[in-house]
């Protein structure tokens, strides 16, 4: 529900500042929340560069914001302790963009009942609602799943609900903080007249006969067919997963009908990139040969020469058969392009083929790893409901596992553990500023309508535990010895995470579980570049290497890329510099140098000018006599 008044609207690109007070995890989470805005709306964010009004995000007391643009220059938005969750940041920025809470709208009593005697005395005003002359619900139905709705026990004097939904099924839906709901997106896009988004490119579930403008190639041996089932599998598409039998469609390459080496090529419509990086996501089903493969290309059109470059991006081999599998492919198209899906018939017998469905293409970063959990409902009922993911490596080389705890249902816990790995000798310990982002994927076909649950945590190299050890130190030093199912021994560090990552009720909602499959997307990325403090890291080797590397003038020795370096002291108008901080500089020195350089240049120019004047005068004094001589000579000849 939007605040009425154009003066409260921001421009589509909002200038922001991340204040130094913000914790590292909050910084990364805020940037991820911006990405959700970029995907689902036309709202973008840019670092402040002198615009008259901007949002300063800082670590204040609590989580809060103003409503709408305030025209005060700096406008504060607080992401305090415990507020560093993506949906909380989305909620506070929706306030800043001009939205009130959902249950404040004028017609709310048609949809929820407020239980006044369960509200903390004096907090009743928080349940006021407003006339439609004050706030505008934009002709969008009341939305229980809005990221702007209170939870059922908000401002309660006990654990009993203060808000009861008129439709009981929504009691546990209100107050969910997962992602923007469809209505949140609709209202945001209406308020800001959005017609496109920065990062969304394409979504296709093949439900319509035009197959999203995809085209068959003539330079192949077979075509992809639009089908709703194949006798050898899949029995249904992925979008509807059998809920509407015969109505859900996917694209199928029948490899059983062609010879080895035959291909079928399906190309997307032409797409126009803005950011130069893309993530292609789709579901793939194999009912053909084990050796059938899917090649992903991009066909790029150079703007200068109208030439077409076909680049192989990924060869997907060894596709498991019998179930839909999720794939992510990173693309880096900078010119207009098509995505090309090439099915290739492999050796060996085939009774079916390859099928693709629920394609999404966005200019976002792909997750680094996917943990695919099959037969999930069986796991929920099993006596020992705790599981570790397979081991993964982060892009920096840290090995890790995710621990999924189903022992405390209805709460579902999720934890991150560093484990010993092949690169440990080359890595920094304690592990500094790696942000772990865990997402349970809402498998709704269209990426814009997904409400995936995401939580992030960041490895703080200064974090210690009771015995004084660093929490994120090397697992071989602080971890416990454990054994993989194949018998390999390794060390697993302590876990850190979320005891209530999401509730069982939430997990059963939407498309978190589809075909009894759950997908957990994992990204572990280095966010040390977001650190504005530049604290020296508590690396244990610092003392060893720094023992023989003395910094003068109270400089501090740190390790940078495995080498000792000095960080020199500085003040407002002075600083030390040099390899060991041995030289002193100051603004006064700079002024003296600048002044003396100017004087020297002036003196030099003066000398050159005087010499030039002297030479010129001397030359012109001589010239008349020589002309006279010439004249005389001419006259003599005459």
């Amino acid at each position: 529900n939007a605040i009425i008044g154009e003066r409260y609207r921001w421009p589509h690109t909002i200038p922001y500042v991340l204040d130094d007070s913000l914790e590292m995890n909050a910084r990364g989470v805020i940037l991820k929340a911006f990405e959700r805005y970029r995907l689902k709306s036309c709202i973008d964010f840019k670092p402040w560069s002198g615009e008259p009004n901007y949002i300063s995000v800082f670590k204040g007391n609590g989580c809060w914001s103003s409503v709408g643009k305030q025209l005060t220059g700096i406008q504060e938005l607080s992401i305090g302790e415990g507020c560093d969750k993506i949906a909380t940041v989305q909620h506070e920025f929706l306030h800043a963009l001009g939205f009130w809470h959902e249950q404040s709208r004028s017609d709310r009593n048609d949809y929820v009942s407020i239980i006044w005697n369960r509200i903390i005395s004096g907090k009743e005003r928080n349940f006021d609602f407003y006339d439609d002359q004050v706030i505008d619900s934009m002709n969008v139905p009341y939305d229980y799943s809005s990221v702007m709705h209170y939870g059922k026990t908000a401002f309660g004097n006990g654990s009993e609900p203060t808000i009861i939904t008129r439709v009981p099924d929504f009691m546990d839906v209100i107050g969910q903080r997962m992602d923007f709901s469809d209505s949140d997106v609709l209202k945001l896009n209406q308020l800001y007249n959005c017609s496109s988004s920065l990062s969304f490119m394409e979504s296709c579930d093949f439900e319509l006969g035009n197959v999203c403008g995809m085209i068959q190639s003539s330079a192949d041996s077979a075509d992809w067919q639009r089908l709703s089932e194949v006798s050898e599998g899949p029995e249904s598409d992925h979008s509807n997963m059998g809920r509407c039998r015969g109505s859900g469609f996917f694209m199928h390459f029948n490899s059983s009908s062609v010879n080895e080496g035959a291909t079928a090529i399906l190309e997307s419509r032409i797409l126009y990139p803005k950011r130069g990086f893309q993530c292609l996501q789709f579901f793939l089903y194999n009912s053909g040969s084990e050796d059938d493969q899917l090649n992903i290309y991009i066909r790029e059109y150079s703007t200068a020469h109208l030439s077409r470059t076909l680049t192989l991006v990924e060869q997907i081999k060894d596709i498991p058969s019998g179930s839909w599998q999720l794939y992510h492919i990173t693309l880096n198209a900078t010119n207009k392009f098509r995505v090309v899906f090439e099915g290739v018939r492999g050796a060996g017998a085939s009774l079916g083929g390859l099928s693709i469905d629920d394609i999404n293409l966005s200019e976002t970063r792909c997750p680094h790893h996917v943990w695919h959990i099959r037969n999930f409902t069986q796991l929920i009922g099993s006596p020992n409901g705790s599981f570790y993911s397979p081991p993964f490596y982060s892009s920096k080389g840290y090995a890790f596992q995710i621990y999924l705890n189903l022992d405390s249902l209805p709460k579902i816990g999720m934890y991150f553990h560093l484990i010993s790995g092949a690169n440990d000798d080359q890595l920094e310990w304690p592990c500094p500023w790696q942000q772990v982002t865990i997402t349970i994927l809402d498998q709704t076909p269209d990426i814009r309508q997904r409400m995936s649950k995401q939580q992030s945590l960041t490895t703080d190299p200064f974090l210690t535990i009771d015995n004084g050890n660093y929490f994120w130190d090397r697992p071989s030093k602080v971890g416990a010895q454990v054994i993989f199912p194949n018998g390999t021994q390794f060390q697993r560090g302590r876990g850190r995470g979320f005891p209530n990552f999401m509730s069982q009720e939430m997990l059963k909602s939407r498309d978190f579980i589809k075909g009894d499959d759950v997908y957990i997307l994992l990204t572990v990325e280095d966010i040390s570049h977001l650190n504005t403090q530049n604290d020296p890291l508590p690396t244990l080797n610092v003392n060893d290497l720094c023992a023989s590397f003395r910094c003068e003038n109270d400089g501090i020795c740190i390790l940078q890329n495995g080498k000792a370096e000095c960080r020199c002291r500085s003040g407002d108008d002075w600083w030390y510099m040099g390899e060991r901080c041995e030289k002193r500089g100051s603004t006064r020195d700079t002024i003296v140098i600048a002044t003396s350089s100017t004087a020297a240049v002036f003196a030099l120019m003066l000398i050159i000018t005087l010499v030039s004047v002297y030479c010129t005068r001397k030359k012109y004094r001589k010239e008349p006599s020589s002309r006279t001589v010439n004249t005389i000579m001419e006259n003599q000849y005459a």
Binding site: S65, G82, F155, H417, G495, P499, N500
Partner: protein, 39 residues
């Protein structure tokens, strides 16, 4: 099995719980009003 720790010390708090625990008395729990909005 190594120990596990909660990022927010086991407190699973929503925006309004966090602000309530801090004793903040903000409009609708998490909103700062300008003068016009106050009126």
């Amino acid at each position: 099995t190594p120990e596990i720790f909660d990022v927010d010390n086991g407190l699973d708090r929503d925006i309004f719980d966090i602000n309530e625990d801090l004793g903040l008395d903000l409009f609708e729990g998490d909103i700062i009003l300008d003068e016009i909005q106050e009126r």
